[in-house]
Amino acid sequence: MAITKREFLQLLGLGVSAFGVQPFITGSAAAQTVDGLPAWAALPAGSNPKTGGKLIYGQTYPNWAVGSSDNGKHPYYWIDLLTRSIWNSLVWIDHDYNVQGELAESWAPSDGTLKVWDFKLREGVMFHNGKEMTSEDVVASFNAHIAQKGSSFITKWFEKVEAQGKYGVRFILNAPYAEWPYALAEYRLAIAPAAAPDLILTDGIGTGPFKLVSVDNRRGFQAVRNENYWMKGRPFIDELEGYVVNSQTAINGFRSGQFNAVFNIDPTTAAQFEGAGGIVHKSKGGDQFLISMPKNLDIAWNDPRVRLAMSLSIDREAINTIVYNDPGSWVGNDTQMSGLNREFVPRDKAFDIATAKKLLAEAGHPNGIDLPPIVFSPSFPEMPRIMAIVVESLKKAGINMDIREMPTDGFDAYVKGVNPPYGRPSAGVVGPRNPAINLGRMVANDVEKGAWTGEKADAYAKLYAETIAEPNEEKRIGMYQELQKILQSDTPAIVLGGRRNMLAHAPGVQNLKSHSQNWSSRFDDVWIES
């Protein structure tokens, strides 16, 4: 699962979301609290949560970094990326991609350079060891994250972090970064008690809703309610356990009643969970599927008309309907942006075979065209089914292009082993992120960019650099949309659209939701009806 692992590590960079510098507009919306809770933590209207019970979940999507360490108490090597069971970060990305304060109450850039950011910490937050969390712990935690290369995206901008009194920290960056708070929502960027560099983050102590009892990072963990959790009255459940299992074992465990929830089920097994009395919850998004086309070789798709014809030939609605049983939902717009990003600009017409055939004829292929094969390694179980739909719909427009499944082991090296640095034509996955990261890939990611050059590419790169340093959010949104239009006009890559993360739970489990960013799932608002 090399691709998957890499992809997840790329996701470390997530956290830069679409909302720009929210504090400029609202001051700090995240600071507002209701009954001692942040506003975003409010339960759905009419909820009547029960306290007690035990949630035991199966997880089919492990943290692939686990294999390289035995220390399951370290957040980087937490069994399944869902670190918010034990720890908190400064901020959290909610189900609608808004950044929300978690251990940070509010934040703001100290000046217009966008290079200095101040965060005000929540007061009275206790670690599981009974010690109060202060700026000292946050500074020590971030220094450890930098030293241990926890997140490549903060590393790139980070200069230093310093305490500002007991409940304040200041980040000093080496370049303007208008969307800095989003980068700090990363699941790896947990806050842990200050300790010596070789000890910090290694003891499983956090501020989160559950206290770790035991963990076998290759298998599962047990945790119990943190009675001193900073969110008053939370969590509702007494005990939380999670186990990494394969798809079939997950169904077995769910059927036998050992699991009352399963994360990241294969879409094809949804009916089996429902048949066993389960309720399936689907998030609005997930990773997207991207086809990269190296344009430095003598291939017909070097002509942008052919690329656009390809894009217009693909019946993406069929993917939503057949694979995810989600007709009418958003489809890919040939950028890394997801339909959940509010800056998302859909193509005028996503599926238009007539236009596609016309474009092909214009490009000198009136009788159809043969294209070189694309290789992929399935990161998600439904990926082969999606690729089959793509091949079929391309064929209907007269485009013959094979998409070949390859073994996971050594796949990355296989793709990058030729035609450096662009590699072979391939299909991969792209995580759901905020525009700064999403659109930056077409500047920085050689494979996805696929030797995209020329006037449009140059204009794109220039505009991207201006956007990221633009302090005005309204302006930024317009610039993000402009960037997408450049991509759509030249189609350097084809992005099919996103998957839907799915979980299944027993009927008694309440308010458990699948998150488009799987790793941002949380348990402090979940309860169990007896």
């Binding site: 470390l12 298998r219 186990y243």
Partner: protein, 326 residues
């Protein structure tokens, strides 16, 4: 004759040495010829950009990747032969420590599977042979033919559905941690062990039954029968030891097959064994771990063969004589 047994064992150990060396070579080449080197495969692509070429070169040198392939093979070979499995590539943690519990857990499961399988097969084989072609024999033979042709994952899942989901007798998923007390592991292993046995037992049973039928048709059984020796003594004392011999060779293969089967069965039941560890190591390209597990598995197979040969030697005094002529 007696020296010949020592020679046989000596020959076996000598062969074992070559088999294990060969295993080391295959594993080494396998991990060597796969695209990409261990280092770039271990560091996620996005992370690679954060290492300077100098840093990468230094890490390669620490891993010994800057030396020639034969030299590195000799190092790997020497390490494996001295049971020094080294450290993991990324975190520099001891491989031996990492795989200790999974290996022990798997050994417990495989050992239990072997014992249960042999007990089951011998009991069934003797019962079936009491009246070849009888109703009991037909029932057992038909059942084993059926289970023999079932894939392991089907068997395992059927077991889960029947015993865990329908009857609720056992858990469908084993929650016991890798380092759980070994008694817990033993208890947890029961259903996986039965699932492991189903396939193996079917094949072994068929061999034992054939051996029993042949032995029961022998002159010495006829003599014993005509001398008024009761049936149970004839079956157990006279026929069984001879009938075991053809089966024991297959039992050694069963042990070899256990490795492959247990990867499947461990995954279905979520048993904390070496199969899962091997899969994980493969997906991570944790080469020292892969080498260690593959080597230990080969060692187990070699050992099982040696035990089987010694058992045959103990069961058939004629082989002891025969082996003296080569």
């Amino acid at each position: 004759m007696l020296a010949s047994i020592a020679r046989m064992i000596g020959r076996r150990l000598f062969m074992a040495f070559f088999i294990l060396s060969f295993t080391a070579l295959i594993v080494f080449l396998g991990t060597e010829v796969l695209p990409g080197d261990a280092l770039t495969a271990s560091i996620p692509a996005e992370e690679l950009q954060f290492y300077s070429p100098e840093q990468l070169a230094q890490m390669r040198s620490e891993l010994g990747m800057d030396r020639s392939i034969p030299v590195r093979f000799l190092e790997v070979w020497h390490q494996l032969m001295t049971f020094d499995f080294g450290t993991t590539i990324m975190k520099k943690e001891s491989v031996a420590t990492r795989i200790f519990h999974p290996i022990v857990n798997s050994a417990i499961m495989a050992g239990l599977a072997l014992v249960v399988m042999l007990a089951l097969v011998i009991a069934l084989g003797v019962l079936a042979s009491l009246k070849p072609g009888g109703r009991l024999d037909n029932a057992i033979s038909t059942t084993t033919l059926f289970t023999y042709s079932m894939p392991d994952f089907v068997v395992s899942n059927v077991f889960v559905i029947v015993f865990a989901v329908w009857l609720g007798l056992v858990p469908a998923v084993i929650f016991a941690p890798t380092n759980a007390p070994k008694l817990t592991i033993l208890a947890a292993a029961i259903v996986p062990v039965i699932a492991l046995c189903v396939h193996g037992a079917a094949y072994q049973f068929r061999l034992l039954r054939a051996g029993m039928v042949e032995a029961l048709n022998s002159d010495y059984v006829e003599r014993a029968r005509l001398a008024g020796i009761p049936q149970w003594r004839i079956s157990v004392i006279h026929a069984l030891p001879s009938a075991l011999i053809p089966m024991l060779n297959a039992t050694a293969y069963f042990v070899a097959g256990l490795l492959a089967t247990s990867v499947v069965v461990e995954a279905v039941f979520k048993f904390p064994g070496a199969g899962g560890e091997l899969l994980r190591a493969l997906s991570q390209r944790e080469i020292p771990t892969i080498q260690a597990i593959a080597f230990l598995a080969a060692l187990a197979v070699v050992f099982a063969n040696l035990i089987a040969d010694l058992a045959i030697l103990a069961l058939d005094p004629r082989v002891r004589t025969r082996s003296s002529n080569g």
